[in-house]
Structures are given as C-alpha cells and as structure tokens.
Symmetry: C2
Subunit: 488 residues, 2 copies
Amino acid sequence: MADDMAGQVGDAEQLRARLGPDLVLTGEAVLPYCRDWHGDVQGQALAVLRPRSTSEAQDCMRAAAALKLRVVPQGGNTGLVLGALPEDGAAEVVISLERMTRIRSLDADNFSAVVEAGAVLEQVMAAAEAEGLFFPLTLGAQGSCRIGGNVSTNAGGVNVLRYGMTRELVLGLEVVLPDGQLFEGLSLLRKDNRGIDLKQLFIGAEGTLGLVTAVALKLLPRPEQVATALVALDGLEEVIALYRQARRDCCDLMSAFEFMPPLAIELACEAMPDLRPPLDAAHPAYALIEISGSGLVDIDDLMTRFLEGALMSGLARDGVVAQSRAQAAGLWAIREGMNLGQAMRGRHLRTDVSVPLSRLATFVAEAEAAVAAELPGCTCVSYGHVGDGNVHLNVLPDYGLGPDMIVPQILKAKKIVNEVLDRHAGSISAEHGIGRLKKPEFEARLPPVQRELLTRIKTALDPAGMMNPGCQMDHPAEAAHHAPLAEN
Amino acid sequence: MADDMAGQVGDAEQLRARLGPDLVLTGEAVLPYCRDWHGDVQGQALAVLRPRSTSEAQDCMRAAAALKLRVVPQGGNTGLVLGALPEDGAAEVVISLERMTRIRSLDADNFSAVVEAGAVLEQVMAAAEAEGLFFPLTLGAQGSCRIGGNVSTNAGGVNVLRYGMTRELVLGLEVVLPDGQLFEGLSLLRKDNRGIDLKQLFIGAEGTLGLVTAVALKLLPRPEQVATALVALDGLEEVIALYRQARRDCCDLMSAFEFMPPLAIELACEAMPDLRPPLDAAHPAYALIEISGSGLVDIDDLMTRFLEGALMSGLARDGVVAQSRAQAAGLWAIREGMNLGQAMRGRHLRTDVSVPLSRLATFVAEAEAAVAAELPGCTCVSYGHVGDGNVHLNVLPDYGLGPDMIVPQILKAKKIVNEVLDRHAGSISAEHGIGRLKKPEFEARLPPVQRELLTRIKTALDPAGMMNPGCQMDHPAEAAHHAPLAEN
C-alpha cells in the first residue's frame, strides 16, 4: 500500500517533470473528470492531462507510454455508457481535450470546417450558422459534449434520419496514436477513394485505438424553413405506416420523426407544469415530425398538405402544425419534458436498442407484454426515432419501491427486454456506444470471428493495450500493460 | 521452367481434387478473367474458382490457402484500375463471384435488401424497382459490374452528390476471411453503434483483406419525378456558383450536377452523328442538372423556377429543361457520348481526381494552363461531378501522333496534372480506387504513418499476404507467401 502510494506520487511527479505543471492535474482536481454524466459512478485516475495543442497531446501520450500508464481520452464527459471513466487511480490518466477548442478553419465554399476535438458541439453549430451554414448533429448534450467525443462515440441524435450518424459527417481526422505518432488525415475532400479508409477505424472506437485531436466536418446549407407537427394515431403500426408515407410524400426532407406513447405527454406535464400540449393524452400513439429545407420548396405548405392527406386517409386521428417557432419549441418540449419526467420518477431502466424497421412494432409489443407479464408493477415508456428503428424502451419500476428492490427490478427488466431483442436480431446499442456499461452485454453477444478481428485490430494499433482499458472489450494486452514502476 | 509447369499442373489438379471440377477453370478458359475492362492489359492466373455459395467460397479460400496460392477476388471485372487483374500464372487464382447472384431477401418495409456479391448492379436496381423502391448507385458499367466489386471499390457514380458513395449504402457485409472463416455481418439495422465498425475495413479494400460474398443494402423510396436540365454558363466559376445556389434553392434534392466543357458537345456529336444537342457548343461551360423526388413536391416546377432564377440573375446564359423522358435521355447522351468521342480519338490520359470544391475552378485552370504550356499540341477535356469536387481532367494527345510518341506524352501529361493536384491537396483517385494501375502514384504520396497503419492492418487480417497481392500497396508478407511447391 505504502509502495503503491509512493509509485503514484512518483508517476505524478514524473508527468509534471516531463510535461510542465500546467498540463497536469492531480489530487482533488481530478475528481470531476472521474465522475460520469449522471453522477452515479465515481472512478479514479492518477492525473488528468490537459494539452492545449496537438503537439502537447502527442507529448502527453508519449509521457504516459514512457511511464507505462494507461490513457482514458475524454471530451465533454457527457457519454451515457461510461466510455470516458477512468477506474484505476494508480495506473490510468485522463487526457482531456477541453483546452483544444479552436475552430481551425471554416470554408463556406467547400461546405466544410476543421475543428479541434475539444470544441463544444454547440460552438461548432454556431460557427456554421454564422456563415449561413448548418452542422446537423443535434442531441440533448449539445451544450457540453465535444466534437472529439461525438466522433469517438459516433453520436446519433434526432437528425440521423436525414443526415446520418456522426460517421457520415466526418471528412477527415487527426489522431494521436498510442506511440505518440500523428495520423494526419484532415482531408477536406468530399470524394476520395484511395483504398482502405483508415479514419473509419477511429469513429466509434471510443478512444480504444487512439486520441482524436481534430476533425474535418461536412457542413450543409442552413435550412431556412422548418415545419413541425404533432400527430395522434391509433398505435405504433400506424406511426410506422405514416413514416413510410412521409418518406415518399416529403421527398426525404424529414429531419426528425419521433414516436411517443400517451404517457410521454403525462410525464412531460409532470416535469413542466406550465406545459400546455396541443393534443391531449387520450390517443394510443403520437408522432413528432419535422420537415426542413431552404429555398424554393415551401416547407410549411408541404407539411400542411402531408398532414391533410394523413387525416383524410384516416391514418392520422388528429394533428397540429406549429404556427410559430414558439409553438414548435412547445412541441419539442414534450419530447424533452418526457425525459425529465422519467428522471423525476426515480431510477429506472434506460435502453437504447434498435431493430429492423419492419420488426419495430412487433418488438415493442412483445417486449412490453413480456415486462407486463413478469413485472406487473412496472411501467414501460417506449419512444424513439422511428425511421432508424431505434427505440428507447425504458422501464419505470414499481412506484414507491425501496432502493434495495429497485436495482434487481431494473436488472430483471433489462434481461427481459434483451431476450426479446435477441429474437429480433436487434442491437443493444443503437446510438450510445458500448463503453464500460454495456461491455458485458456486448461481449456476451459477440460472435467469435468478430471478437478475433477486433482483438487483431486492437493488437495491431495499440499493441501495449494502453488506450482506454476496459472499454468496449477486454483485451489480453491490457492485463500485461501496467507493471509497478521502478524510479528511473 | 519444366519444374514450374509441373508445379502449376499439380496445383491445378489439387484444386480440382479438393473442390470438384465444376468449381475450377484452367487453361484457355481463364484468359477472359485475366484481361482488364479496356482490353489493354492481359494478366495470367493458374485457375479461376467459381463458387456457387458462401460455403463453397470458404472452400475455395481454404484450398488456395492450403496450396499457398494467392487469391484475386473478381466481380464483373469492370474496374478501371486493374484491381482484379491476376499477374502470376503460377501462384495466383481468381475467385470469381459470377455464380453468386441471388437476391437473398428484400424487405420493402425496412427499405433494405440482402444480395450476393455477384449480383449485377442493374439486377439489384431492377429488384428494388419492382417493389417501388430505389437503389441509387448509378454508373456506366451498371449492366455488368457486380455488387461485391462496387463494395470493394467503394464505387461512386453520378448520384454520389445526393446518396453518397457505395459505403453510405451498405448496412452490412458477409466476408470470407483469408483463413476461410466467415465474418457474418449482414445487419439490417439502420442504426447500430456497437463499437468499431468492422465492415468499414472491407469497403474500398479492393479485396486485399477478404472476399465479400454478400451485402446488405439500403434502399430508398423510388423518385417518381425526375427533372433534367442543361444550362450554359460563362465558365467553371459560374458553374460552381450555380451549384451552391442549387443546393439552397432545391433543398439538396439534386441527384446529379455535372459540368462539361464545350468540347464535350463536339465530342458527343462526333461519336453520335444523330445527336441534336438543344444548346450549341458556343458557350464556355455547361452544367447538366438532375433534381428528383417523389410525392408532394412538384419537381418539374422546382427545376423551372430554379432555372428562371438563374437566368434572371445573369448567372446562367441559356438553359433548357427536358420536357419528356426522351429529351432527358438526349441530354444525358451528351455526357455519355463525350466519353465515346474521347475513346474514338485514340489513347489518351484519363484522370479521376478531386480537390476541395473551393479550389476546383483554380485547379482546373492551373492544370489546363500547365498542360497547354508544356504540351501545346494536346487538348484538355475537363468534366465531372461538381458537388463532389471530382473532375475527370483528361488529356488528348496531339492528333495524328505515332503510337510510340503517345505513351510518353500521356505520362508527361499525368505528371503535369499531378503536380498541380498536389499543390491543391487533391486526391489522385476520387472514385476509381487504386488497384495496380495507381499503386505507384498512391505509394509515392503515402505519408509514413498511414503506410505503417495500413501495413499493420494488412498483417493483422491477412498475415500470410494471400489476398490480392500487388493491389493498392506492396506488403512485406506478400513476398514471403508463395514458395514453389513440392508435390504432397
């Protein structure tokens, strides 16, 4: 124990000696970097390294490697699966990108920007908007998540339907490799077919293969017109039918198509007592639809005619189109308030699963029925992104249950949902990633050939098992990495 | 020599013994598989293996591995960079996917299909169309290229602007690995964020990491309305300005935006004497524009209003919107006829380069000026996909030059164009891939860190250097792979 402490102090001092004191946080200062977004889990780290430039990031990586320390890359620390959580206070350092926040360049004529990995998503959105452009990644944490984290987790959000996951918005990457070398791949080309596309490996790798320090991003024309509607329907089957109709009728100009159960409106009203939803909670299902565009297509007219058609055909029971930005914000407030309302009801199971769209309604019906049969006191709240087949099938435990009873109920509910999911060839992580939280579920479902390929790639790019140990998968090399250090 | 021949016969017989005679072609029958699309290059191979199923493809791979033979995967053999060309008649076998052509499934409700790698692109397009859907990959070779080749080369085409390269149309892959194991990744999920996305490695790898045997594809609603226009402008700068305007005005509903020089019309008329272009060849530049969609947006009206705006503002000099399918086909015939016309003028330099869109006009002006200065008798034909920054800057040698003079002139023109390209951080291959043809240019520009990463990945996935040797890059393992065989 005393030896361990001495080793830690020694490592921390060596980091300071190598990098200068300004780059190295230790002691109490590291704690906020070791806590997850929900505040549920507290990890620990030897130090937090905070480079201000790519070359300092390379220095940090080399220093960690020289001391045989493991590295946990961290952006805004807003992830939902503990992907940036250091666990070992003796052997792990966090490299935080929070001081690398520059927009290095923005080329409006090329519809592109190069930004450092620590730039906050909202800052990137604003920089694009200032040039009449648009960066479409849109998610709840956009005020604090950072682009490097978005890339490393291949973040999704409400606009995936139209613009794809983060992967589809990345033109190029700059990555510090575990040995400190720099992968300089900040291409601005829209089309470049020179063989194997190395950057794809780092997107979604959650920092297990390298440290993303800058990103070249695609930008788009800013949609000047946005039309938002809330529609009431007879059930999820009808919501899916409406989605298919909308794809054809609206020329794939939908930027969001979310479904919600009636409970969503109830939960939103619990969380936001001032909320006045334009439709009551008496219908079996709701769709929140956004169409957007610029220029010569009249988006409001398109939405109105689409909705008229849906009402005339009987597919929609009721519907309302927002007549102002404020009304549109009011409709989105239901979607956001629903999340708050769930949180206010206490700990619950949150899932982030996906199935083929043709199985979505069946999956939700079967999973909700299975939960009702085995956990009759629980309440399911299933909502999500229809077009992507991505549903957050959440389960609220028995109201008023003691804390010691809640966790077993949540674990049981998760098991029930996953069993149904497996029957429908679904994914346990549609958009949140694997991290440390979903590693057991991920590894349990990993076919041997995939496991072998992932191990070979990890070994090829990070032979010492230095990057983000314990994230996504356990690798043999990680166990061997850290040995107690002799002072040298 | 006699020993070599004996070895070949022995290998061929062993392949037949292991796989049965129906799967193995040898002798004269292999020649068509060893000739490139243009018929310019004749390679050689020991045998062609033609599996009818995934398990037979695994058998073929295992047989090749057991005999220490190298494998060149081949689809429709329509590639433009010699990526599927076997070179060594003693040590290489082609595995042709031409007998694996099934559409395994098509799920209209999920907008997806699973097809075998040997399915011809046009067959896939037709299968989608029969269900009211659309597979958007569109290119000259669509009647003979095969989906596995499209995936392995990450094929582009005229619709990349709207729908992306093949990479963006792939949901999942089935790949036979060099050791015969099967990577089963035929996912039908639109959104699946379970860590590192292994399938990305095989897309664009040109068969150097494994043999793609089946593909899960994204489908889209079929665009019921298509509007096509030909516009005359003052130069490439104006074409690019019109493109930017079109992105905003037309809500990114453009499915093609091609530019052509006046010579394009001249060349097309040479090749197709019956062609009656609606605009004469007197303008400095032309844009061929296609907008498409379905449902409630009036696409013809959108195109008409867009073009009226461009004429009113003075950006466009003249323009015509096709009033029928036949007229639209007539406009596209100029684009296709231009290629024929170039071929009729004899051997010439074909390039497939890209630069950031903001540099496209400058790049073309500088490269054409450099060619004019150093090769005054040559003629440049620059055309391509504006929105992608992808230009085919071709150079026709001096008219009437002897064959021994043409090749040096082509090589010199290539050097001149590449020098300008390098100054603008461009790509030597925007959509055609690397293959064997562009390997020297590719390797000469490959930064050491990228080379090292590519070598590590190749070694990790194909440690024996068995897959498509000499394609894209030279790898140390390839040299060691084949040793003359003793009969065993």
